[in-house]
């Protein structure tokens, strides 16, 4: 699968050298420097049936995230916490290689990665809030690359899962977060992370009034308000920064051409406090531990700008939506 993808990028030897040489000289094919991301375009409220949604575009990469909330029952193990489900869909309309099993594989990898970023450790327990998970996916992975992930939600950060509980042990909100890759030109994970953050800040959870009097094992009656909505504080939600190593240098926000030349990639999820919420590496090539630590500190700097840009974009998108 990986081979097919790298071949689909279809670069000649000359083009490959051009990309690698450009990165070595700190001027990439599209004129960016190594650590300059593409401009981000955020639009919120794109799906009216969802409780919250956002569309994020970075160059030709285009993703949509939607958040739907449904009332459900908390698990027996964690009666005081709501549940969050994350799924990513890569439709073949984005790229022919997403057809059939190819898309499935990528979807699964992205979902796992984001789930890690958003929902905490595999066990999902012990955390008062959503954990950012860093995980890895193979899309466009040609030879090897390291992805550093900044996990999305860290312990003590992100969404308080306990805030999703309506009646302890009986009723909670189940959040279904769905990502859709509309068009893919590299750096899907970072884009999806940003889209989910934007979608969560756009999300309104209806206020629920619980009818008094239910006791024991009875399921209490609830009244879901269609006027009052609660909002999430997404300021603590981390962003994901992927550093792709090409030759001796690493770049942020790689395009798929650049991704095809990577030796490894590290995805790091970082929150506003500059704490690492998750990290994952991909690509076969090994990395010296000191390089990884170096990448972490670079990711922190980059994430700061990214969080600021994203926040202002989200604010602008929300304001624009209100007016219209």
């Amino acid at each position: 699968m990986k081979l097919i993808i790298s071949e689909m990028v279809g670069l000649s030897i000359g083009e490959k050298h051009f990309i690698q040489g450009g990165i070595a000289q700190d001027i990439r094919s599209d004129g960016r420097k190594r650590l300059t991301p593409r401009p981000i375009n955020v639009k919120t409220g794109v799906i009216s049936q969802a409780n919250g949604s956002a569309r994020v575009r970075m160059g030709a990469t285009d993703v949509i995230a939607s958040v739907k909330a449904e009332l459900g029952r908390p698990t027996a193990l964690q009666p005081d916490k709501g549940k969050v489900f994350i799924n990513v869909d890569c439709s073949p309309t984005a790229a022919p290689m997403f057809e059939g099993r190819g898309g499935e594989e990528l979807s699964a990898e992205l979902s796992v990665a984001l789930r890690h970023c958003l929902l905490g450790g595999k066990s999902g327990s012990g955390l008062s809030s959503l954990l950012a998970i860093v995980s890895q996916w193979n899309v466009f992975e040609s030879n090897c690359r390291v992805k550093i992930w900044v996990p999305l939600f860290v312990s003590g950060a992100g969404i308080e899962l306990s805030s999703l509980v309506v009646v302890e042990g009986k009723i909670c909100w189940d959040l279904y977060i769905d990502g859709l890759v509309v068009s893919s030109d590299g750096n899907l994970l970072d884009a999806l992370g940003a889209a989910i953050k934007a979608a969560l800040s756009n999300t309104g959870i209806p206020r629920v009034n619980v009818a008094a009097g239910a006791s024991g094992d009875e399921q209490p009656e609830v009244d879901v308000s269609d006027e009052e909505f609660l909002q999430f504080d997404t300021s603590k939600v981390p962003v994901i920064v992927t550093l792709t190593k090409v030759g001796k240098h690493y770049i942020v926000d790689a395009t798929s051409e650049e991704e095809s030349q990577m030796s490894s990639a590290v995805s790091i999820s970082v929150n506003r406090q500059g704490h690492i919420c998750g990290l994952t590496k991909r690509g076969g090539a090994g990395l010296d531990p000191s390089i990884i630590l170096d990448m972490v500190s670079v990711a922190k700097t980059v994430s700061e700008q990214l969080i600021n840009t994203l926040d202002s974009q989200i604010a602008a998108a929300e304001a624009g939506e209100d007016e219209s």
């Binding site: 097919i4 595999k122 012990g126 003590g156 090994g286």
Partner: protein, 258 residues
């Protein structure tokens, strides 16, 4: 099954220098807290490896770390499927499965679908794929009993099985995880500790080359803590690789030893 060389040869806890800094950590925190199996925070479970566990495979290995029991078979290199495109380097096909009785709740192991692709990523950097063009090597891992830190054990065991199969590698791959419990870093966590963890760090490396092939972190980590966690893991990985190497050498001379 007991460790072949007694406790000394089969434990891979990080070096005493790191342990010194650890003792400080104990001092600051809940000192009364004891790990369920009586280990210190930076003490690993005894590791036991045995190669040649499956006769019909090209190479195989069995690993037992406390209650975590894993068996890995390597088949091939065999001809790649016709449907696959021509490739002048070899392919690696990894699969990780759990027995239905591996977990406390029957069939829970099905949650670990991502392990197969993660195993692939952890191993591919260490294997010299150019040595078997046009062919595929299959790595099948089966978790017989899940006792915590399953995935690091699978990786280490798989690299041993690959070595047993005679697949060319740059170095053995060793993997260790630490869990963050409160303010403490706990190495080689058991199932119970994993379920209470606030964060985890799993590091996979080739110790002789001092290269990290895979690193996965969850939860919130500050930079000093990240440094500490990585250092502990690197140290433990180096020691684990020694045990694995000893196991490989042991099978070469006498079967008894392994």
């Amino acid at each position: 099954m007991a460790g072949k060389g007694g406790a000394t040869s089969s434990t891979y806890a990080p070096s005493p220098t790191t342990q010194k800094t650890k003792s400080l950590i104990f001092g600051n925190n809940d000192v009364d807290w004891v790990r369920s199996d009586g280990r210190e925070f930076h003490q690993c479970r005894p590791a036991f490896f045995k190669t040649g566990a499956v006769n019909c495979a090209s190479g195989s290995a069995y690993a037992e770390f406390g209650n975590t029991k894993v068996i890995v078979s390597v088949f091939g290199p065999r001809e790649s499927k016709k449907a696959m495109m021509y490739s002048d380097i070899g392919r690696l096909n990894c699969d990780v499965s759990y027995t239905t009785f591996a977990t406390p709740v029957r069939g829970q192991g099905l949650d670990h679908k991502e392990f197969s692709s993660m195993l692939h990523k952890a191993l591919e950097g260490a294997i010299i794929l150019d040595t078997f063009p046009k062919t595929t090597v299959d790595v099948f891992a089966l978790v017989l009993e899940s006792g915590g830190s399953d995935f690091p054990v699978i990786i280490s065991c798989a690299s041993l099985a690959l070595a047993d199969a005679g697949i060319m590698m740059y170095d053995l791959v060793a993997s260790v995880s630490v869990s963050c419990l409160g303010k403490n870093l706990v190495i080689d966590p058991v199932l119970e500790e994993e379920s209470y963890q606030d964060g985890s760090l799993m590091l996979t490396c080739m110790p002789s080359r001092y290269e990290v092939t895979q690193l996965t972190i969850t939860g919130e980590w500050s930079t000093p803590k990240l440094n500490e966690g990585m250092q502990i893991c690197l140290d433990a990985c180096a020691k684990l690789a020694e045990i694995m190497r000893a196991c490989l050498k042991g099978t070469n001379s006498t079967l008894e030893e392994s």
